[in-house]
């Protein structure tokens, strides 16, 4: 909200301070690291003055002795303003506000999951309220079951309204509200049930008390002070939200938000927050396969070398992946050579990657904060609420820019939340969507249209023509005709879009990969080039009066957390999936490709056919991965790798910014980081002498070997870096947690040195300094502030915008490999027609926040949230099959047959249908679906499968919990972080 920072001088207890002019007094006081209690104000949500906790005394001038009480959060700062924080009347007032809140507060802290990081506890201590004077009976509420993720304990509420303001006002939730009156106010849903918003997990952090708690964390609970944490990056989509992962007794407990001013700010989505369970999942690979282990206790390097020596000097193809770190991918590429390196992408996807990279080269990609700033948004074929949820939340905030402007016109600052909302009314920043499935953003957009991907590209072309016409440019007659053939309704929409676009000062175009359509990216490229043409710029600079026109920004969301990191490694000669298979089938004598190395790659983009081909033709498949998959079952050699919280690395987000995630905790041998396995391969198979034994060492090796290594590894200040503590200073149980095995305390795990100054080393202990900014902060804490609100006490030092930020290396020449755009595989033949009629139309997969990510899918809780299989088609098509909405259909897609319920959407055209089938991976979209009536057997089978799936998930949930409780007591004597042979 507050942009360029202008400061004013204010006097707090007669001391002069410089504070931000655009913000309120409370924010100003906190920015000076002074303690002032508050509840309802939130840095991202502004002030409403609901809690009356932030009272301070304001004086008229130096001579004023009495002053008056004001609420700091609703008071603007003015030059020379004088306030008293320590003034006794104000202090007393604040103490009494807490005292009143406490009258009904339950005696719950010991059993409250918030205890130890509770803002209410902190504020109570801060005001000095130490014993309750109220002796009457307490009011109570009953709780609701809010679904799999968020627990509810209403007795603890202090009616600050933050939950409501976040869930409804900020995140656009519909199924949550406030009920009752006077001191009986209740926050919850109308009835019990799963919270529908993709952002419900933020309630846990937004609520200053323990009303909303993380259910998954509570089930296997640890106090915040006991968690060993490290800064991490969310591994579940390309937004790259900053997180902090906490571990205790060898298992991951939870993920919380880690403040980043330009990306996630204060909020995460539920996929990122609750998706971490896969690290503890039953599917984790914990032993090797195909490697003969001599000693029963421990796998040694020698064992691995003995197995691998048979493959010495053979030629391997390496397939990297978008969920492995940039380092591991680069190392693999360096080992096999770029002409044997593949990203696991099909021809079509390689073409998309090429376009994507060239777009990145040309246009600056906005950060999430910049998305929030835009005043015109056009979404092209991507359901970002499901595929890049945090960005969708930012889009929702961008829609308020109209209200901010209106408020500013009459002198109301942006932090006056309720005033701004009242002024804004229902008016919103223009948002348009041309897409193939309906989305949750539809209800807040000005206009949307459902189109098949092909028409979508056409529509974009028409839009380009429209814009060119508006600019008074000449267009070819064909284009004119094209425009003329469009139906009026489309024309009207295009007209609307163009009008708004020409008025916009900070326009933004958003698209992504989920339609799997190279054509969409191509036409986006054309659109962008028109919007960046001199004519367009001139038009805007002429028409704009005061504010500068910012050239149109483009955000493209690739599917995975490190998609861009992987794509940045691609070279002209890199292989597509199809090329990998041809290479394997080639019989070229000695130089024959012998096998494949799969780096954290489940080969989701291979069809079943292709997989079989791969298995038949590769002599040996070496899979390095952390979880069981079809591939790990197929592979000859399996090497268990670490998951996100167990290793170090960098991910490149959708902007191409490389962000470091740190190892949170160590693993039990033989699970080790992918690059350590690659190092063993390097020595035994690729005959490289070098032994890489730390992450820092790996960085140095890569910087030497790869030209244009993007990560700066110069380190100026050496040796005196004491590091940052991963544990809090009150971490407990050190001399007891492994005492069941030995009373002799284990040695502390060594941490890897750092290679540059902006990624300081972190210690596996409570020793070390505290982080200077949130980019290397393992957990949020400030003296007196145990909750996540402490971030307001150290956020000012955040330097993520500094020059030290690394960006992926973009090659200047575009990737142009003709064979990538080769035509697609033959589509599967029509199903042999039986008696019943078959309809066919283009199928678009509906993205779902919880099921699109392979890793997050391993969470039993996510399975429990699985939407039912469904297909939505046009009325004519469904009735053509003789069916009604709600009937079951069977659908043949690629080579799989699935069953689901059919629904009708009036606005769908004949040739388009959309739906979700949990059996199908995310890349099965934009292909022809053959739909027919499902017979009773098929329906019964489908229903029982669905039921079984749910039961399995429930069982799995219980199993995991039971296992974790056993392993809690098996804290190994010495956790090793240095690979197989460290003792």
């Amino acid at each position: 909200m507050a942009k360029a920072m202008e400061t004013v001088t204010i006097f707090i207890d007669n001391q002069a301070y410089q504070v931000d002019k655009g913000n309120n007094l409370l924010a100003g006081v906190l920015s000076q690291k002074l303690n002032l209690p508050y509840f309802c104000w939130h840095p991202s949500m502004g002030s409403v003055g609901a809690c009356r906790q932030c009272a301070v005394t304001q004086y008229q001038d130096e001579n004023d002795q009495r002053g008056r009480l004001v609420m700091a959060c609703t008071t603007p700062v003015t030059e020379g303003m004088r306030i008293g924080l320590k003034e006794p009347a104000a202090e007393k007032f604040r103490e009494q506000v807490i005292s009143a809140m406490m009258t009904n507060h339950p005696h719950d802290c010991p059993v409250c999951a918030e205890g130890g990081e509770c803002h209410l506890q902190d504020m109570t201590v801060m005001t000095g309220h130490s014993s309750r004077s109220y002796q009457g009976k307490k009011r109570t509420f009953t709780n609701q079951n809010l679904g799999e993720f968020v627990g509810h304990e209403m007795n603890r509420c202090i009616t600050c309204y933050r939950c409501m303001r976040f869930y409804n006002d900020y995140a656009g939730g519909k199924d949550f509200g406030v009920f009752g009156s006077k001191n009986q106010v209740y926050f919850g849903r109308q009835t019990d049930g799963q919270l529908e918003s993709e952002f419900s997990g933020n309630l846990v952090e937004v609520c200053p008390t323990g009303v909303f708690t993380n259910k998954l964390f509570s089930a296997h609970f640890s106090r915040k002070w006991d968690l060993q944490s490290a800064p991490s990056i969310c591994a579940h989509c390309s937004v790259g939200c900053n997180t902090s992962i906490g571990e205790r007794y060898g298992s991951v407990r939870r993920v919380v938000n880690r403040f980043h001013p330009d990306i996630n700010g204060y909020f995460l989505c539920d996929r990122g927050r609750f998706g971490i369970g896969f690290v503890n999942g039953e599917q984790r690979l914990k032993t090797t396969k195909g490697i003969n282990q001599l000693s029963p206790e421990k796998l040694s390097r020698l064992d691995v070398a003995k197995t691998l020596v048979h493959h010495r000097g053979k030629k391997f193809i390496g397939i990297g992946s978008a969920r492995a770190s940039l380092e591991a991918n680069a190392y693999l590429q360096q080992l096999v050579g770029s002409n044997n390196f593949s990203a696991g992408l099909s021809n079509q996807q390689m073409a998309m990657a090429a376009t994507h990279l060239s777009l990145l080269n040309k246009y600056i990609v906005p950060s999430v904060a910049q998305i929030e700033d835009s005043d015109f948004i056009l979404i092209l074929g991507e359901d970002i609420t499901q595929t890049a949820p945090r960005a969708a939340l930012a889009v929702r905030q961008a829609l308020r820019n109209v209200s901010f402007d209106k408020a500013a016109d009459i002198g109301i600052p942006s932090w006056q939340d309720s005033a701004v909302r009242t002024i804004g009314g229902t008016e919103r920043t223009p948002l348009f969507a041309l897409q193939s499935t309906p989305t949750k953003l539809d209800e807040v957009s000005q206009a949307t249209m459902l189109l098949a991907p092909e028409q979508l590209s056409q529509c974009i072309e028409a839009l380009i023509t429209k814009v060119q016409l508006m600019l008074g440019l000449s267009v070819s007659s064909e284009k004119h005709e094209l425009l003329a053939t469009l139906p009026t309704e489309k024309l009207r929409l295009l007209e609307q879009i163009t009008q708004s676009l020409l008025k916009a000062k900070k326009p933004l175009v958003v698209t992504g990969w989920s339609l799997q359509s190279p054509a969409l990216l191509k036409s986006t490229e054309q659109l962008m080039s028109v919007l960046h043409s001199d004519d367009f710029m001139r038009y805007n600079n002429e028409s704009s009066e005061e504010s500068e026109y910012l050239s149109c920004q483009l955000a493209i969301f690739p599917p995975e957390s490190n998609s861009l990191g992987l794509m940045s490694l691609l070279e002209q000669e890199s292989l597509s999936n199809e090329q990998v298979l041809t290479q394997l089938s080639h019989d070229s004598g000695d130089n024959d490709v012998f096998g494949v190395i799969l780096l954290e790659q489940q080969l989701a983009n291979f069809s079943n056919n292709q997989l079989q081909q791969l298995r038949q033709q590769a002599q040996v498949i070496i899979a390095i991965d952390h979880s069981e998959s079809e591939i790990s079952n197929l592979a000859d050699i399996v090497m268990p790798a670490t998951a996100i919280s167990e290793g170090d690395g960098h991910f490149a987000n959708y902007q191409g910014i490389l962000q470091r995630y740190y190892q949170v905790h160590t693993t039990l041998s033989p699970v080790q980081e992918s690059w350590r396995w690659l190092n063993l391969l390097a020595i035994s198979v690729f005959q490289q002498p070098e032994r890489v034994d730390s992450f820092a060492h790996l960085q140095k090796v890569l910087a030497e070997e790869c030209k244009n290594w993007p990560i700066n590894i110069s380190k100026d200040v050496e040796n005196d870096d004491v590091g940052i503590a991963r544990q809090t200073h009150r971490n407990s149980g050190r001399t007891s947690q492994s005492a069941n095995f030995s009373v002799h305390e284990p040695q502390v795990t060594k941490s890897s040195a750092s290679v540059n100054t902006f990624e300081p080393p972190l210690n596996f202990s409570m020793e070390g300094k505290s982080a200077e900014n949130s980019s290397s902060q393992p957990f949020a804490w400030a003296p007196g502030w145990n909750s996540n609100q402490s971030i307001n006490h150290n956020s000012s030092g955040n330097n993520s915008e500094s020059s030290e930020r690394c960006f992926i290396y973009l090659k200047s020449d575009p990737l142009l490999n003709q064979s990538w755009s080769a035509s697609e595989e033959e589509s599967p033949s029509q199903p042999n027609l039986q008696t019943e009629p078959v309809a066919h139309s283009l199928f678009i997969r509906q993205s779902t926040c919880f099921h699109d990510d392979w890793q997050a899918n391993f969470n039993a809780e996510f399975t429990l949230k699985l939407p039912i299989n469904q297909l939505t088609m046009s009325t004519e098509q469904l009735s053509g099959l003789g069916l009604k909405s709600g009937n079951f259909v069977k659908v043949l897609l690629a080579d799989q047959q699935v069953v689901g319920k059919a629904y009708v959407d009036e606005s769908l055209s004949e040739n388009l249908c959309y739906g979700f089938f949990h059996q199908l991976t995310a890349t099965i979209t934009n292909i022809t679906a053959y739909v027919s009536k499902a017979n009773d057997d098929e329906i019964a089978e489908h229903l029982s499968n669905q039921q079984q799936l749910m039961m399995q998930a429930k069982e799995q949930q219980a199993q995991v919990l039971a296992r974790l409780k056993i392993t809690d007591q098996l804290v190994p004597i010495r956790m090793v972080s240095g690979g197989l042979d460290e003792h």
Partner: protein, 178 residues
């Protein structure tokens, strides 16, 4: 002269006192045959107590562990089917414990208590590691009446919302009365 006198006096007085003590009863006892009296509040071996209804008092809140200056308490919380939180495991490493009693002071449920048993010697240090089964006693210890769940707002089986000692019946949120 004066100094000389005081020196002699001091010597004689000392001898007198010693002589007197020869006839008083000895404070030292023939430990271990004879046991000295230790007050109930004496800080010795730690136990985990039960509430008046016989249920484990400890709610596994971790406050004792965090208060412990030698970090010798570790535990893990679990939520049982009856809604109560209990310790999945609870371990005290007495080879580290300095019997300071901070854990007892920190405990909000009176679960952890120090007892006057100070005989904690072992030949093997490893034997000084006590698990929950070794710590848990069957009575309420020094506080016979206190039951945490009756005070807390948490519902457990047998005590619904509003049935705690200090609670009113739950609000009907959808009621129309002001």
């Amino acid at each position: 002269m004066k100094t000389l006198f005081s020196m002699f006096y001091s010597q004689l007085r000392t001898m007198g006192l010693i002589l007197k003590h020869t006839f008083t009863k000895a404070d030292t006892v023939q430990y271990p045959e004879e046991q000295p009296y230790l007050a109930p509040r004496y800080r010795g071996r730690i136990v985990l107590t039960r509430d008046p209804s016989g249920e484990e008092r400890c709610v596994a809140c971790n406050l004792c562990a965090v208060a412990c200056p030698t970090d010798c308490i570790s535990l893990q919380q679990t939520i049982d089917d009856d809604g109560r939180k209990r310790a999945e495991f609870f371990r005290i490493n007495f080879s580290r414990c300095i019997l300071c009693g901070f854990c007892e002071e920190a405990c909000p449920t009176y679960a952890i208590q120090l007892t006057p048993d100070v005989e904690l010697a072992e030949y093997e240090r490893q034997n000084l590691v006590y698990e929950k089964e070794h710590l848990l006693i069957s009575g309420p210890g020094k506080y016979p009446d206190y039951s945490f769940y009756q005070q807390s707002g948490l519902a457990i089986s047998g005590k619904e919302k509003g049935q705690g000692e200090q609670e009113k019946t739950p609000i009907d949120v959808k009621g129309l009365m002001p």
